[in-house]
């Protein structure tokens, strides 16, 4: 008889959809999991919305107050999909209630919030994970395997950027559904917490800790109408952020993110250069991994474009046949599957809150570095 994991999801926006989809796919694509996902309750402030959401995604019940959801006995795990300003409060309450926690990234708005969260979660000893979903794109997971195999040799460089162009118009408001990411109160920061956090999480997973940073940020549009006040208010977020850094292994890092790069919808690219080999990846063509190996015979040496769709490549035995790609949403399905598997193995499901806290440290020091125009040590413990 299979066990059940009864999930209560809080927040029914974009991420609420990706997580709900992930749970719904497990039975179909990971039938060997010993634990079954049960979508017990969905929670959002608006009653009509949450009921429509619950119907669409198959939740058994709804709540409009997250505290009630957490108080329920029939919830084993809380999935936090709300804007960043409520992550800490919900996570801490969930931990104290003994619930497992799956939290959307970034962990928190600030390092202080994150530290408090980790302290409480660790004390509570509840299972936890943070949805840095890009680790589970098969091509990225494959990159991790290649790097861990030692194929690259000593690492010299790591670079990543995450470029978008959706806030160029001054008419985009701050605050409210879809645009809370422009409201510093809700989001904590701009591209740093939203986009660079992904790049930093992947980077440290692939290449180890980031030791120190030197950053610059910019807010191109200084005032925007706020959704709540309907008035123009000062914009508090960073529209763009660039930083360079040292990794613990001596390699140099270079990171950039912006929402003002016309032509790029969600261009997350990463590259790592080692003594013997290099790797590149690009979210827009996320099923491909580029790999260069200097040890190939010289006259036929070149960047290999690996179409990561074969059964011997990470996660791909679960899907279709070679040549047939998967999409963005699958990264969440893979993380959900890994979380469920971690219930069986009793191992942590990376990245844990503690792992995500390290990314928070880098983000905080990046902003601090930009504000003070100086290098900052991150204090990352990887």
């Amino acid at each position: 008889m299979s066990k059940e994991l009864r999930i209560g999801l809080i927040g029914c926006g974009f991420m609420g959809r990706t997580h709900s989809n992930a749970y719904n796919r497990l039975q179909n694509f990971f039938p060997d999991l010993k634990t079954k996902a049960v979508l017990k309750a969905a929670c959002a402030r608006n009653k009509d919305s949450v009921e429509a959401f619950a119907k669409q995604w198959g939740y058994e019940s709804t709540e409009t107050d997250w505290k009630k959801l957490i108080a329920r006995d029939d919830i084993d795990a809380v999935d936090i999909c709300t804007p960043n300003d409520t992550h800490a409060e919900i996570a801490i309450a969930s931990a104290k209630a003994g619930k497992m926690i799956l939290c959307e990234k970034p962990l928190s708005r600030t390092l202080a919030e994150g530290e408090e969260m980790v302290k409480v979660i660790e004390k509570a000893g509840v299972k936890n994970t943070v949805w840095y979903n890009y680790r589970r794109v098969p091509a990225v997971t494959l990159a991790k395997k290649i790097i861990d195999s030692g194929k690259l040799g000593k690492i010299f460089h790591y670079r990543a950027n995450f470029l978008q162009d959706w806030t160029i118009s001054p008419d985009v408001p701050q605050g409210g559904a879809g645009t809370w990411r422009l409201d510093v109160g809700a989001a904590g920061s701009g591209v740093t917490g939203d986009l660079l956090a992904h790049c930093i999480d992947t980077a440290m997973w692939l290449n180890g800790g980031i030791k120190d940073v030197s950053a610059m940020t910019e807010t191109f549009i200084k005032e925007r109408v706020h959704h709540d006040s309907r008035k123009k208010q000062k914009v508090g977020i960073d529209d763009a952020c660039i930083f360079h850094c040292h990794f613990d292994n001596g390699s140099l890092g270079l990171f950039e993110s912006t929402r003002y790069a016309r032509g790029h919808k969600a261009l997350y690219t990463l590259e790592i250069n080692g003594e013997h080999a290099s790797i590149r990846w690009d979210l827009h063509d996320m099923n491909r991994l580029e790999y260069f190996d200097h040890r190939d015979e010289s006259v036929v040496r070149g960047w290999r474009s690996i179409h990561v769709t074969d059964g011997d490549q990470p996660y791909m035995d679960k899907w279709w046949v070679p040549g047939l790609i998967i999409g963005y949403e699958h990264s969440f399905i893979h993380q959900a599957a890994d979380f469920f598997k971690s219930l069986e193995t009793n191992k942590p499901c990376n990245p844990t809150f503690k792992d995500a806290l390290q990314t928070q440290k880098v983000c905080e020091m990046v902003i601090e570095s930009a504000n003070t125009r100086s290098w900052k040590d991150t204090g990352v413990d990887w």
Copy 2:
């Protein structure tokens, strides 16, 4: 109160999985559909297999004899996912039983089979569709819209190929699960019915009827062990097929398919060249459409790489946000959604059996042309 469409699925292989997944996604991604998919029964000859399949995909019951499934009163629609040699018999029986039919492509092994199928289905007046799923890849659907808008002007050329490399080893058997496509008895033909049929369907949908063809085929490996007899037998399928043709609109067509193109897993590409503009697409990067418009200002004119992930592009309002891709399986979800929508509008869901029969005509004449080393009129009525 929403209506239900009770589905009985026959054949639990690769296509059984893609169709089952499609039905399962409708509620999540097309919540406005007025009819709900109910997975009533799955059917396959092996009892253990079909039960495991039913559990994995959520079918309420199982059958091991497809005739029993068709005889059931609680089945509204039959989905045929079996090898090609049973399409005709099952479809005809289903039509006679008054069931709607969703049939995997190709429609049939031979033109004669297909003609019989269409005759019976039309007489029965049952709703029907054939799973030429690539029409519903958003980039391909967008190509259709662009072409229909007249942007290309007079068409001069259409070319497509479908290249694979999975049968190069002489050790691949013919017959049996996974390799029935090499057995001419089960498949009817080789790459012509399996791969070129896709190319032909898309081509006629985009560019109109194919009038005449001149073809060549080749069977590189003449004998392979048969799964059933365990003995080496003559291979009856075409390993590769190339043909050129005239379309009704006066443009020239060029088609190629093979399973011996080392390095290509499932490279379906198409290109259409018009007087003013051209379009290209490639299944390996299926979320991109390339578009060239000669009317662009000359010094900044070039092929545009369109990342088809925006909400105003076909089907993409159902999914994520700009820049985030979908995968192969989504083409089936879209066709299932269109089929369900067609129940509301009472319009046919293309391609119907009658449409698919036209592709069958081309396939038959391609094989005939290759065998006789001569041009053949197709008799296509588009």
Copy 3:
């Protein structure tokens, strides 16, 4: 003391420029050649034009009658850059005068012309070559080396196309400078002799003889103003040509050429698929060769994009440093250098007239096949 090769060049158009440039570069980039190119005379019918040309390119003298040029004692080699309709006459006269001959491709308008040319040249025993320049693009030469090394194993497929879009407008005339290629009298054929001849030459060099062909041709614009008569006349050339074929080694060939492929300026691409490995090349990015080797470790296997700019790759030790590309014109410089080197080694400089005659056979049978809608044996002796 170095020897001299005194060149008389006939025809001062596009090809006259590429050849003249080639001779001028030898001293700079191939300083080890023992024979020095001396630009003795340029010949064209218009006196002003040829004098301007001679000044621009450094020819010592001019002629307006090619027969006078051939009659001169101070000419060792005749370079034929005229439209196709004069190749035979000039080449035959040159051979009879004992001159070496470098002839622009295609060898001739018709097979009969070509056969006569070869007969006379062989009898005369004069050194000769035909400017199928793409063999000397370093990436293509590298492809030849890879294929000859056996890395590909048994060959299954060869495909090539040459796509242009410069004659789509009905206002392009036939005949005259720049547009003589549309005049069947001057050119002999359309895309077949102009573009497919290149594809065929490279194909047979890389993959051996073409045994039989099945072709179709089309003339999209039936009448165009003729440059000479200033009147609309029937167009006699093929605007587009497609053929498939068998190679002597059992592989299948597929060729297409057109001047109606909107968006393609001069897209010559080729691909060859073998049992173990495949190769692709594209003239638009001519310094890259794509190579796929199935023997690479499976999880990191992919098409390699080889930037052919290293000193150990063909011809590249003569140029710059890794990463810095060369252009179209360099293919002619390489052929000129190889011709000069062949004077030292006393070996033929491929492709000779006899080699080029084989391409002529294929072209002739392609046109014949299209005209008769039937397969044709080529009679190629490779």
Copy 4:
């Protein structure tokens, strides 16, 4: 009667070759220039080498002491192709001798040297230019035209990198022919002066002055054998350099260069993002320019891959026909042609020494910023 410009070239290495080639091509490809290049003398310390070089490239005479070359009356212009440590001395002496000067980049090893050079050159009033050749790659020149036309709107971002991998082996020495770029005494700096100087020159040309910088540098291999002493010595150059900056127009800049990026031979890429449009370029595929225009119709909007080979694109009327590419060396030919044309128009040939001095300011402050781990104002006057 055409005038002559008698050139004395100092330094017969890689750059001596590219410049000599450029002069030799003018007559062939820019026949309308009113001044003719005369290769009067080549100079290098080794007599045998310089004589071979002069013969190969057509110099009328040789010198082994550059002071003698400058002293000659029959030299109008001095072309400085020596390592960086002699630029200042030669340029200053040349200016004092009233010679025009064409100097290889970077202008100098240090800002102080550069300032002295500019002071003397301006006092002497001699015509001058610095070979930042990438400005004259047609695709880059086209980028300049597009930007100057205002198509991009307000600029938000500029990024460039120049990645190589040729010094990863610790066995590469410092000093000596081919490797003087690793010797800080000869080169002044590492990748900053060698590679980033190119990126900075192009950047300021396209996007205006760089106001302040924050940089980091790294020397991965701390000791290398010196060519002169044959002993291991401390490496004084920067192996890698990263910096971010503000441009005067308010946009953010991001630059990176290294010789430790495995897989990149000479990957110079640049990208500029504006309010309405963006541009990308890559030296490895230097004939292409990528352009994105947000004003394109939304469903067919995408990055355009412009093959910059048409006659209406910069410099391309001098070369072949659409679709046929040119190479690296052509950028030098274009600059030489522009220099010769500037003799007719009596306008400066950009970049002048004064322009190049601005790049020197940025380079100096980049190194200074890295050394002091702090932001630096550049003092650039653009």
